[in-house]
């Protein structure tokens, strides 16, 4: 098993490096010269040449990537083209702020949606199921920016319970940010919960019809025990992936919500960097997001191993001969990866 984790870790690192290379190349392909952009229209050719070599732009792309990679490995993401300050610390600050909304969001949405999803799955076709399904359907269908706008209207402007926007910059202390996080947390939780609820519901239904649940029931166990001990670990397996993907999505791309609430997080930093063509910042944000994505998936895999001992075996590609081979087309396989918004 440690070997398995090691292999996953290896491929995770490879994925991040590949992602950083892709983004690096894509950014290089941007039309327009960075130097011209910085120096403006009246730049003399000498000044341009000098700045190019200052920025190391006269070295070949691949070499530059290698240099960047080495820097990045040591935590040096270069300096912002706009502010001239190192990217790393600023990114860290924004990342911290995003975490401040991400962590409560994950805690709230994951617990809530698993509970609701399981309830809906267990009470399939009943009122509880219908209302939970309907609400999650709505939550998935109404764009976040609308939800955010309505919430602001209701709970910041109408009844001034929460601040409408974050006035403090990225350096604000956590205590300063704390009152502002709740509306973003609600918006993000709604968006996230919807998918998790649906996935949990589906897999709960799936698992509840499986033979081992029937067996557990026919053993005369209490319903609660059947659900909690027998069904849940397996039912949560497909949910894990959805949770992971949603967490990654949230950390990497809360752009809209952060934009609306003027929240000084990574999403806002990213938007700003794209607006300003601040290439080192874009690259750094991309790499951090890729790392988060990969880490979330890795964690989901580890959690799956914890939940389900079968996952600890390396999956052997058994040639399909016997009766068992035909039964692999479970809907869970196809749905788990489907839930990336």
């Amino acid at each position: 098993m440690p070997l398995l984790i090691l292999r996953r870790l290896g491929s995770a690192v490879l994925t991040i490096v590949l992602a950083s290379l892709l983004v690096f190349l894509a950014i290089q392909a941007l039309p327009g010269d960075v130097v011209q952009q910085i120096l403006g229209r009246d730049a003399t050719p000498e000044a341009v040449a000098q700045m190019r070599s200052e920025l190391g732009l006269d070295t070949p792309v691949f070499l530059r990537y290698i240099q960047w990679l080495f820097g990045a490995l040591q935590g040096d993401f270069g300096t912002s083209l706009v502010s001239g300050e190192p990217v790393g610390p600023n990114l860290l600050l924004h990342f911290r702020n995003t975490l401040l909304i991400a962590i409560p969001t994950v805690i709230i949405s994951v617990t809530l949606s698993i509970v609701l999803g399981v309830i809906a799955g267990l009470r399939r076709g009943k009122l509880a199921d219908h209302s939970i399904s309907l609400i999650s359907l709505l939550a998935m269908s109404i764009p976040e920016f609308m939800v955010a706008a309505l919430l602001v209207l209701a709970f910041a402007v109408g009844i001034p319970l929460f601040p409408a926007v974050v006035l403090d910059g990225p350096q604000a202390s956590l205590a300063q940010l704390l009152p502002s996080i709740w509306l973003p947390v609600i918006v993000l939780s709604l968006a996230m919960a919807a998918y998790i609820i649906r996935m949990t519901r589906t897999s709960t239904i799936d698992v509840m019809t499986s033979e081992f649940i029937t067996t557990a029931e026919l053993k005369g166990l209490r319903r609660a025990r059947v659900v909690m001990r027998h069904a849940l670990p397996t039912a949560l397996l497909p949910t894990l992936n959805v949770v992971a993907i949603n967490i990654a999505w949230m950390l990497g791309g809360v752009v809209v919500v952060e934009n609306i609430f003027n929240y000084p997080g990574m999403g806002n930093l990213m938007l700003e960097a794209v607006f300003n063509r601040d290439l080192p910042v874009i690259e750094a944000v991309a790499v951090v997001s890729a790392a988060i994505y990969v880490a979330c998936n890795l964690l989901a895999d580890l959690a799956a191993m914890a939940l389900d001992p079968r996952q600890r075996l390396r999956q052997r590609t058994r040639r399909g001969t016997g009766v068992g081979a035909g039964t692999t087309a479970s809907p869970a396989i196809s749905t788990d990866e489907r839930s990336q918004p």
């Binding site: 912002s80 706009v82 502010s83 001239g84 706008a149 602001v152 910041a156 402007v157 001034p160 601040p163 409408a164 926007v165 006035l167 403090d168 910059g169 990225p170 350096q171 934009n259 609306i260 609430f261 003027n262 806002n268 700003e272 607006f275 300003n276 063509r277």
Partner: protein
């Protein structure tokens, strides 16, 4: 048509007694992360400047030059030598007293090419650093290289705020001036605060302090106001619908600054499309400013008729021109660009940009001109689009003296010449006007210059808009002219 039940937009902010001990919170759009408190710089953070600095002279709401740090000034009859007497007992925030050397230093800083000050373009042609001298500790003498009857008005620009001698390197962060407020904290594109400066020569301001916040998104700024998180939104001209929302809010209201926004449509004269004056002429003839005021401003403003000098100004040329799409068509045909097609750039930088672009594009259709309204990001609009794309929309605050307005925005080579228009005759007129010490004749020359802009200029002025400013109902004595409020009087009830 105004639908029932929604509050009308008020004409002005409340007057009244400010309560003592209050701090005001102002939201401003985040400028570039490279912004600075150096007033001479092109990237200065406007809102702070008026609070922390003073100029020698300033403009009042009627456009006349009035004293600020200078108590009186005079010139020789040829208009070449100007003497300014400084107010006594003026203190900088660090406790030093203001002397003539500070003024000399400040002008040297502005004129220093390394500073890259936009005002250098206005002052350099007539003033050399060595031309600023002190006859005593509180008298400054300007010796101009050419006569300039309007010279004092050129010192009303916000780049001319006086900084302490020797402070150039640090001023961008320290913000030490003589203003009613003293800087206590500052982050570029972030938040910052100023505190009442007890040592201010005109007595302390009504407020104890001001906190500035940068909020990127316009709606976010409005929401912050409606939620009571801030007291005033600066540099934000509310769109009509939003203004109504704000006006009907129990906590916030709207104040109107008449004709405070000067909207322009620069046609880049160096671009292949607009290097031909016939095309520029056609673009002007093809639309009716009155229609634009009606649709883009909902009537909250006055038509500009492509004359950049606001209608209320004494020097303004009284002019309307025909709206003639047929003639425009003919001109385009002559220029070989019949059925001109191109993008017109806009952004959400100002709430009227897009309505203006849309209304304009709609209007010129008649003349066979096909404009696609293209929205660019508001953050990089003034670095990526403005003065780079052939056709875009832009705006200025009104409140400049005529001489500066024409020199800054229209003279060849000025760094604010947004249309890159260059006209020798026009430039000469400006020089002539400065030489002319007779007010009446000078006005005539300025009006000739306006005529040239209308006929040949590359910058269209479809309209002047009222600026709708969102502020808290608690704000009293708000008045705004040009770039700045009256920081002394503004207060909270």
């Amino acid at each position: 048509g105004v639908s029932n039940g929604v509050a009308e937009i008020p004409l002005a902010a409340a007057r009244g007694a400010a309560a003592p001990g209050r701090r005001m919170r102002i939201a401003r759009p985040a400028a570039s992360a490279a912004e600075t408190l150096d007033p001479a710089s092109s990237l200065s953070a406007y809102e702070y400047l008026g609070a922390i600095y003073n100029r020698l002279v300033k403009l009042d709401e009627q456009g006349t030059t009035i004293p600020d740090l200078a108590s009186e000034w005079s010139s020789t009859p040829d208009g070449k030598t100007w003497t300014f007497k400084l107010r006594r007992g003026v203190l900088f925030h660090d406790g030093r007293a203001l002397t003539a050397s500070d003024v000399i230093y400040t002008l040297g800083h502005i004129l220093d090419p390394k500073t890259g000050s936009p005002q250098a373009g206005v002052l350099a042609p007539i003033l050399e650093p060595s031309g600023v001298t002190a006859s005593d500790s509180h008298t400054v003498v300007f010796t101009l290289t050419s006569p300039n009857a309007e010279f004092p008005s050129l010192l009303t620009a916000y780049q001319c705020y006086i900084i302490p001698a020797g402070s150039a390197a640090a001023i961008g962060r320290t913000g030490i001036g003589t203003g009613p407020f003293k800087l206590s904290s500052y982050t570029p594109a972030g938040r910052g605060s100023v505190e009442a400066f007890a040592g201010h020569f005109a007595g302390p301001p009504a407020l104890d302090g001001i906190d500035f916040y940068s909020v990127q998104d316009t709606s976010a700024r409005v929401n912050a106001l409606l939620a009571g998180q801030i007291d005033l939104i600066s540099q934000t001209n509310l769109d009509f619908a939003t203004a109504r929302v704000v006006a009907s809010s129990p906590v916030a209201t709207v104040a109107r600054a008449k004709d405070a926004q000067w909207y322009t449509i620069p046609m880049l004269a160096t671009s292949k499309e607009f290097s031909d004056p016939r095309v520029r002429q056609a673009m002007k003839l093809a639309y009716n400013p009155e229609d634009i005021v009606a649709t883009a401003l909902q009537g909250n403003g006055s038509p500009g008729w492509d004359n950049p000098v606001p209608p209320g100004y004494a020097d303004a040329l009284d002019h309307t021109r025909p709206y003639d799409p047929e003639k425009a068509k003919a001109l385009l045909k002559k220029a070989g660009v019949e059925g001109l097609q191109m993008p017109i750039y806009t952004s959400s930088y100002d709430s009227v940009f897009t309505p203006l672009a849309v209304a304009y594009a709609e209007a010129v259709k008649q003349a066979g001109i096909q404009l696609t309204v293209t929205s660019a990001s508001s953050d990089s609009y003034y670095t990526e689009i403005w003065m780079k794309k052939p056709l875009s929309v832009s705006y200025w605050f009104t409140g400049r003296p005529v001489d500066q307005l024409l020199n800054q925005v229209f003279r060849s080579g000025s760094s604010y010449n947004e249309s890159a228009w260059s006209n020798k005759a026009f430039d000469r007129l400006l020089v002539d006007a400065r030489r002319e010490m007779n007010d009446e004749r000078r006005r005539g020359i300025y009006q000739d210059a306006q005529r040239l802009i209308i006929e040949d200029g590359a910058d269209m002025t479809p309209m002047f808009g009222d600026r709708l400013v969102g502020l808290s109902r608690k704000v009293v004595n708000y008045s705004e002219f040009g770039f700045e409020f009256d920081y002394l009087k503004i207060g909270l009830s």
